[in-house]
């Protein structure tokens, strides 16, 4: 099989699986449906492995597969760009997806929508692969919207729950805001570069680096800054950066495998991937990178705070995801794109692991998600416990787990950055380390340690989950341990990405990082003496103190810091603000338009008004038909008169 057809196989195998399970799910049955979809994704994963070997042997690919339409000199086509960046994403996506597919067999075994679920997650895999493999903006946008759609469908998978419907509508609407920015950015690129093809756009980018456009006439702004910020707004929607993060915690209404696959490991990282892919553009605008840096840093810190007070096990992981996405964004802002992708990869493993671990707990607890009703699960679910511990250590950044390497690399890159806002960002990511360690071990202790707090009935039925659930946990735990250690040298320090990522000389910390690099061992040795490591240890110690030893302390804090707690409990009032200003405002405007525009103008004047007019005219004209022959004759003569006078007027 040629490489070319292998490229096609990667996205099409999951699509075929999805269509089979979706359209013929009833005929295939449950086992048939999960077999075809898992087969599709496994095929896709194996193909990705083969492609990866080929790529690292130096065979890149960039070309169209199918031309969709051609208007004048703009060609829109489906095409693939296969380079190290793409291959990394392909491996992450297909591997996590495969794990989630297997896990779903156990997790969803009693759900009536079994086939539908498999069809959706395979469709998601297809969409995500189309997104990362695209070689042009149009296909990127297609994948972007397609993953958004599947995310919408899956958050509302249990469509009879009002909260699920509310959550998926919210995700959809918030993403609209981001997508509008993204679309505007793409439009601006098409207008100024005359092409949607990555290669062409990147080639022309330096030529227009100093162009300006006037958004408000009279005040020119840099074209690159506007383009990059618009694209980043798209990334903010998908990757849930403040203030467009509000949909992600609510998306936990979806089944847990989805939270792992879409809302932790893959889709939410699409924004990070996109910005990395666009590095030739972002490198040209310092302002845009500064914006990226500040927004990322704020998300990293403030979302981590929210993780502390959550009691729902999935929500803790969700806020942790938000915070980690913030870390990745910070790396992007500091021009350390490889570091962002590195963290994306390690995070995908340990966060999927944590989510699936949480899912395993929820499954064992009969869909109980409140940590206050758990405790002591360690002895009932040893495999889940150990894997969750590995995930938490990785998340907290304890060496030698994967998270340590990527997080430390980010912190060092930010420290080396000289952009406006870098000081704030450095503080935020440092403080974030403490908070992260605190909330992740708080979760671990509340769930697995201490006295069991669940009711008798649940405790009697507690047992370790079946192998389809624990196998993915184990398979994900392995990279969570070793991925950082193994990948940091080639991926961040070496020339792994080749030309896929552009970093201009003098921009940011990556260069500094590479200069100071003396191998993995030295990096680790340096790590345990540096501040972030001790912050993480302090976080774990605090968690242990508050939730294992002096369990009364958190309540005292809560009582003392009432105001702060309320602020956090209301998630900084983002939701209230949106509900009142945007949702309420939109409803007011809508009602106004409906009353005045629709009822009065369109219905009143245009529709009913014209119908009325015709009706009245009709009644009048009808009366002309009097039935008297002399009236008729008179009208005829009058007609002749009219025609004649017309001629006189013309003459």
């Amino acid at each position: 099989m040629s490489m070319h057809s292998l490229y096609l196989l990667v996205p099409l195998a999951p699509l075929a699986g999805s269509l089979l399970a979706g359209l013929f799910g009833r005929q295939l049955g449950r086992a048939g449906s999960h077999t075809v979809t898992i087969l599709g994704v496994a095929l896709s994963f194996l193909a990705s492995l083969v492609i990866a070997r080929d790529v690292f042997a130096g065979h890149l690919f960039n070309g169209p597969v199918y031309t969709w339409l051609s208007v004048e000199d703009i060609t829109m086509s489906v095409g693939f760009l296969i380079d190290p960046l793409t291959v990394t994403m392909m491996l992450v996506v297909t591997f996590v997806s495969l794990m989630v597919h297997i896990y779903t067999i156990g997790y969803m075994e009693e759900d009536p929508g079994y086939q539908r679920f498999f069809s959706y997650i395979s469709l998601f895999t297809f969409s995500m692969l189309m997104l990362v493999m695209a070689n042009n903006f149009l296909q990127l946008f297609f994948g972007w919207e397609a993953v958004g759609l599947v995310s919408y469908l899956l958050i509302g998978f249990w469509y009879t729950r009002p909260t699920a419907i509310y959550a998926n509508l919210k995700a959809f609407l918030v993403n609209r805001v981001g997508d509008l920015g993204f679309l505007l950015g793409i439009g601006l690129i098409l207008a100024h570069f005359g092409s949607l093809d990555y290669a062409t756009v990147f080639e022309r980018a330096p030529l227009v680096a100093h162009d300006t456009i006037e958004l408000v006439s009279g005040s020119p702004v840099s074209l690159m800054t506007v383009v990059c910020i618009l694209l980043f707004i798209g990334a903010m929607g998908k990757s849930a950066q403040m203030p467009l993060h509000v949909w992600l915690p609510d998306s936990m209404e979806g089944p847990t495998p989805i939270s792992a696959l879409i809302h932790a490991a893959t889709m939410v990282t699409a924004g990070i991937f996109m910005v990395s892919r666009m590095s030739p553009l972002f490198e040209l605008s310092e302002t845009a990178r500064s914006v990226v840096l500040v927004i990322g840093a704020s998300t990293a810190l403030f979302m981590a705070f929210l993780g502390i007070i959550q009691n729902d096990i999935k929500r803790v992981v969700a806020y942790s995801t938000l915070s980690q996405l913030g870390y990745m964004t910070v790396a992007l802002g500091a021009s350390a794109y490889p570091v962002a992708i590195f963290h994306l990869g390690t995070h995908a493993f340990f966060k999927a692991l944590l989510f699936l671990g949480a899912g395993s707990v929820i499954h064992a607890m009969h869909h109980e998600q409140d940590m206050r009703n758990m405790g002591g699960l360690r002895k009932y679910m040893p495999i889940t416990y150990v894997t969750a511990l590995i995930g938490s250590l990785a998340l907290s950044g304890i060496p030698p787990f994967a998270g340590f390497f990527s997080k430390d690399a980010i912190i060092e890159a930010v420290q080396a950055s000289s952009l406006p806002g870098a000081g704030y960002a450095t503080f935020a990511v440092m403080a974030g380390v403490f908070v992260t360690a605190f909330y992740s071990f708080r979760m671990l202790f509340m769930t697995f340690h201490g006295k069991p707090r669940m009711d008798e009935h649940t405790r009697e039925h507690l047992h370790e989950s079946p192998w389809v659930i624990t196998l993915p946990l184990i398979l994900l735990a392995i990279p969570s341990v070793v991925a950082g250690y193994m990948a940091i040298d080639p991926m961040v320090m070496g020339n792994y990405f080749g030309n896929a990522i552009t970093v201009l000389p003098g921009n940011g910390g990556l260069h500094v990082l590479r200069e100071e690099w003396h191998g993995v061992g030295a990096f680790m040795a340096h790590g345990v003496t540096a501040l972030p490591f001790w912050l993480a240890i302090a976080g774990i110690a605090c968690a242990a103190a508050f939730y294992l030893k002096w369990t009364g302390v958190p309540d005292i804090f809560m009582a003392r810091l009432r105001g702060l707690y309320t602020l956090l409990d209301n998630k900084y009032y983002f939701d209230r603000f949106n509900e009142i200003v945007f949702a309420g405002g939109a409803r007011e405007v809508g009602t106004g338009l409906w009353r005045v525009g629709d009822m009065r103008l369109i219905d009143g004047v245009m529709v009913n008004g014209s119908a009325n007019l015709v009706g009245r005219l009709s009644a009048r004209l009808r009366r002309v038909q009097t039935g008297y022959i002399y009236h008729y004759a008179f009208i005829m003569i009058f007609g002749v008169f009219i025609l004649m006078s017309l001629w006189f007027v013309k003459a």
Partner: protein, 483 residues
């Protein structure tokens, strides 16, 4: 003075028809009341024979005879054939209606044939006097037909109105023709045309005459403001006669326009174009708007006819061969639709009951889904909905007007047909969404039902495959109007 025998070959269809109808007139005297069906059969035979002469004698090139007074060209052949077909269908649809009302008599059939002869003469007229001869033959026969139910006050009144107004219109027409004769010194169309082209005619007198000619023509077509007879005659005449009035004479009127305005006065196109624009817009407006207020379906269809004739004029006034062909396509499509619509009304009627109120169509779908579906096809075609012949008829005239550069007129026409869609769709709503008020079973002769089905399906088929008919019209017009 020598008298050369004119070439009679081009006139064979007319001669055959005249001979046949004279024979029927006499034969009918010897047919007893119980065997009146024979008269009907003879009449249909005469029509078949005429059609046969028309088809077999077609040469494809224009021929003139009687010293250039009579012309036989592809347009004439096609239009005559459509007229014969329309009359044959009309007779089939109205047979049982006439039987139930004592109208199934020799006079009816003979008068119809005379009217048809008048139509055929008009279609082939190449001389003002021949044109007038055909016109009067048609008008007088129609007048007698309208009054055929002489005990009915309504019929008599309608006939009376038609007679007086037709006389007035004839007067206007003759006055106009005399002006043209005065200006050009000829009654022959070709010579009139040459005289105007040579510039020897006084333009003031010409246009003065033109105004009266257009008025006379407009009366025949029944367009605003010469339309006042149309609703009263449609309502007052027996439905069988209404069916006739609404179909075949429109073909004659179209030919009348083509021969007189295009053939003889073609070089005055800029003058008659603006007149026709006014008449056409007024017809579409008054026709469509007034139709909405009607409760009687015959009156509603009368106003619908007025608006259709306004659309037909759009094709003629565009002043191009394509426009004339579009108008010809329109008249053929209109005749098909009108035959179908009145055919359904005749089918629903029974002894002592005329299905001429809109309310009589309520719940027709429950009473007889097949007939309701046929009526549905006819109504959507009249409204000009796609996948019906009415859509292509409207489309082709509108594109001709667009080609002539009168975009505003297209907009007006589309708006008017939008208003018109209301009352056509109302019929459909009554048939499909309302409960029937009258649950008497619908009985109809087999031939009537089959022909209505074919009629409505023809509307559908020509809506899907309109090209052959469009090509036929274009070929007829280009071959006839070039010379």
């Amino acid at each position: 003075m020598t008298f050369a025998t004119p070439n009679l070959v081009p006139v064979y269809p007319e001669i055959f028809l005249l001979v046949a109808l004279s024979a029927i007139l006499i034969a009918d005297l010897f047919v007893s009341e119980t065997h009146r069906f024979l008269t009907y059969a003879y009449t249909q035979l005469a029509l078949v024979g005429t059609a046969g002469f028309l088809v077999l004698g077609a040469t494809g090139v224009p021929l003139t005879t009687f010293g250039g007074m009579f012309v036989d060209d592809p347009m004439a052949r096609t239009l005559k054939l459509v007229a014969v077909l329309a009359v044959a269908l009309m007779l089939a649809y109205s047979r049982s209606y006439n039987q139930q009302r004592g109208l199934f008599r020799g006079e009816f059939h003979v008068l119809i044939l005379f009217a048809l002869l008048g139509i055929m003469v008009m279609v082939s007229a190449n001389h003002f006097l021949v044109l007038y001869l055909g016109l009067e033959l048609l008008s007088l026969s129609m007048c007698a037909l309208i009054a055929l139910q002489r005990d009915s006050a309504q019929s008599t009144e309608a006939a009376m109105k038609y007679f007086v107004l037709a006389a007035l219109a004839s007067g206007l027409l003759l006055y106009g023709l005399s002006m043209l004769y005065g200006a050009t010194g000829s009654l022959q169309m070709a010579l009139v045309s040459n005289s105007i082209l040579s510039g020897s005619a006084d333009p003031a007198i010409l246009v003065f005459g033109l105004v009266f000619v257009v008025a006379g023509l407009a009366f025949k077509l029944g367009v605003v403001p010469f339309h006042m007879w149309v609703p009263d005659v449609y309502e007052g005449a027996p439905t069988a006669v209404t069916l006739f009035v609404s179909t075949a004479p429109k073909i004659a009127a179209f030919a009348f326009f083509m021969r007189l305005l295009v053939g003889a006065l073609g070089s005055l196109v800029s003058d008659w174009q603006s007149m026709l624009v006014i008449v056409s817009v007024l017809s579409m407006l008054v026709g469509n708007v007034t139709a909405i207020a009607q409760t009687n379906i015959k009156r509603m269809l009368a106003y619908s006819t007025i608006s259709h004739m306004g659309f037909l004029l759009l094709g003629i006034l565009s002043g191009s061969l394509g426009g004339y062909a579009a108008a010809m396509f329109y008249v053929v499509a209109y005749v098909l639709m009108s035959l179908g619509a009145f055919g359904v009304i005749l089918l629903l009627g029974r002894e002592g009951f005329e299905a001429d109120q809109l309310d009589d169509f309520k719940g027709l779908n429950k009473r007889n889904p097949w007939v309701a579906f046929m009526m549905l096809l006819i109504m959507i075609s009249m409204a000009g909905v796609p996948v019906s012949v009415g859509f292509f008829a409207k489309l082709s005239v509108l594109s001709a007007v667009l080609d002539a550069g009168m975009t505003w007129l297209v907009v007006v026409a589309v708006l008017m047909s939008l208003i018109g869609a209301f009352y056509y769709l109302r019929v459909i709503k009554l048939m499909y969404m309302d409960e029937p008020e009258d649950t008497t079973p619908i009985v109809a002769e087999a031939d009537h039902r089959i022909l209505i089905g074919l009629n409505a399906l023809a509307i559908l088929v020509l809506g899907i495959l309109p090209q052959p008919l469009i090509d036929l019209c274009l070929a007829s017009i280009t071959q006839s109007m070039r010379g």
